[in-house]
């Protein structure tokens, strides 16, 4: 078993060394000079890339008060209603810019795909629980046990841990869903042809915005009092404290968005760059040295891949954990019995928040 796995990994490594090397030899044939489009690997596209080719996705454009639907960018250009402009993307034939680009993009496909897989996993597990497996008897099968380990982990280690005892149940579905969806989005980034949707700031910002909404909507009276009238400090100090607290409301989701985005983006860029060194070496020292050094670069990439798989899980966990912490802080209800002496309680409050 172990020998077979080792053999499989070895052949995979060899394949990975040779295919970029072969590509590198053809690099000169390409016109635009850059053999690999590094940024193109991580940015959003109007096509969905599969191992055997590209599938162009429909464009939905809103420009000058009108909606336009095309099955692909090419069709949009063919229709003559839109023209490609250097640096600005598509513009309408009369020069009107696109107000809102509602096109289906590659990253959106991955977001949807992750959500669908999350849905399927939850649906299948839920059906088993409804049938009584796991409810009346012990959970059966490796998959259901894995699912339960995950679910119970989110419930007990995140929701129950950071959110008040009587309120945590309401947030378990949210935390579970974002954890699974983000994990899947991150893991899709491990496929060589695919991309991690979470390596797109728009996606992470939207997810963080949803956490922000959940946090503020479920915020308790104490949460708002801590923002606008921090208990136990002199009135004049509120002039400084309140703006800081209000800023704090927004920095939390901002940090969430940036952390996930940067982590996922950097992994992909690093892998593409390290593999790109094969091309650089080929160009500088010739094909032989390019291929020979490729062994080293590919091994490094393999190591990075393992790291990336780990980071994919860790970042999804961190996002969920911090969401849970923020929600927990917002819904928490302190019981200040004596407003006057709450200065004495201030250190307690501070430690609770940490």
């Amino acid at each position: 078993m172990i020998i077979e796995v080792r053999r499989a990994i070895a052949s995979l490594v060899i394949l990975m060394v040779f295919s970029p090397a072969l590509l590198a030899e053809n690099a000169d044939a390409q016109q635009d000079g850059a053999p690999i489009d590094v940024m193109g690997k991580v940015t959003n596209h109007d096509y969905f890339e599969l191992p055997w080719g590209k599938v162009y996705l429909p464009r939905i454009l809103y420009s000058g008060g009108e909606m336009y639907f095309y099955s692909s960018t090419e069709r949009a250009l063919e229709s003559g209603e839109f023209i490609a402009e250097e640096g600005a993307g598509l513009v309408r034939y009369d020069g009107e810019p696109i107000t809102m680009d509602l096109s289906i993009t590659s990253h959106l496909i991955y977001v949807w795909f992750s959500l669908i897989v999350t849905f399927i996993i939850t649906f299948l597990a839920g059906r088993k629980y409804k049938r009584g497996i796991g409810r009346d008897i012990e959970p059966k099968g490796a998959l259901l046990n894995m699912f339960e380990a995950l679910f119970v982990f989110i419930r007990d280690q995140i929701a129950k841990e950071f959110i008040q005892e009587d309120k945590y149940e309401k947030f378990v579905p949210y935390l579970y869903t974002i954890f699974l969806a983000i994990t899947l989005m991150n893991l899709f980034g491990l496929l060589p042809w695919a991309a991690a949707a979470t390596a797109n700031l728009t996606v992470t910002a939207t997810l963080a915005f949803i956490t922000f909404l959940v946090t503020q909507v479920s915020g308790s009276k104490d949460h708002w009092r801590h923002v606008f009238a921090f208990p136990g400090v002199p009135k004049w100090a509120l002039i400084i404290l309140t703006p800081v607290e209000i800023l704090g409301l927004f920095t939390k989701p901002f940090a969430l968005a940036i952390r996930l985005f940067a982590n996922m983006l950097s992994g992909k860029i690093m892998i593409v760059c390290i593999l790109g060194l094969i091309f650089v070496f080929t160009e500088l020292f010739g094909a032989a040295i390019g291929v020979a050094s490729g062994i080293f670069w590919v091994l490094l990439t393999v190591a990075l891949y393992f790291l990336k798989a780990l980071v994919a899980l860790i970042q999804a966990y961190v996002f969920t954990l911090l969401s849970g912490v923020f929600i927990g802080m917002a819904v928490e209800e302190h019981h200040h019995e004596h407003e006057e002496t709450s200065v004495a309680h201030a250190p307690d409050v501070a430690t609770q928040h940490n």
Binding site: G40, M100, T177, V203, T206, L265
Partner: protein
Amino acid sequence: MLYFLNGGLLAFDTGFGFWVFITTLIFLYAMNKWLVPPIMNALKEREERIRDSMESAEKALAKAEEISRDNEKALKEAEVAAQRVRKEALEDAELLRAERVEKAKKEAEKLLEDARLKIEQEKKSALNELRNQVAELAVESAAIIIKSELDKEKSQHLVDSFIKDLSKKN
């Protein structure tokens, strides 16, 4: 070449964000409403049942232990009581036996005494009777004699005095 990038890596793409936001919200709503609650409830139900059954098992165990402790205690007590009863019974029996023996002895003695008394009485009455009969016989014989020879009255008197002397002598 890229007809897409309105802005760089750090730009927020409104249309794309709109799609992500709407679909995620709808998805979260569905998860919150229909998909996750049955799982939560099933897990909760199971955990509660396990907790309940464990608690009741513990209770039953404690109860059983208590019962067995009680039983042991009762057994010991019963043993002690049985020993005491046996001892008491033995003592009682001993006492009773002694009493009985004593009583029997007394009764036997009494019977013996009674018998002796009765014998004495019988003896006395028999003697008296004998004496009377002897007197009668003597009188009769004397009468016959006196009728034939002597004055009857004088003879009678003589005999009576003789008998009185006889009883005095006795």
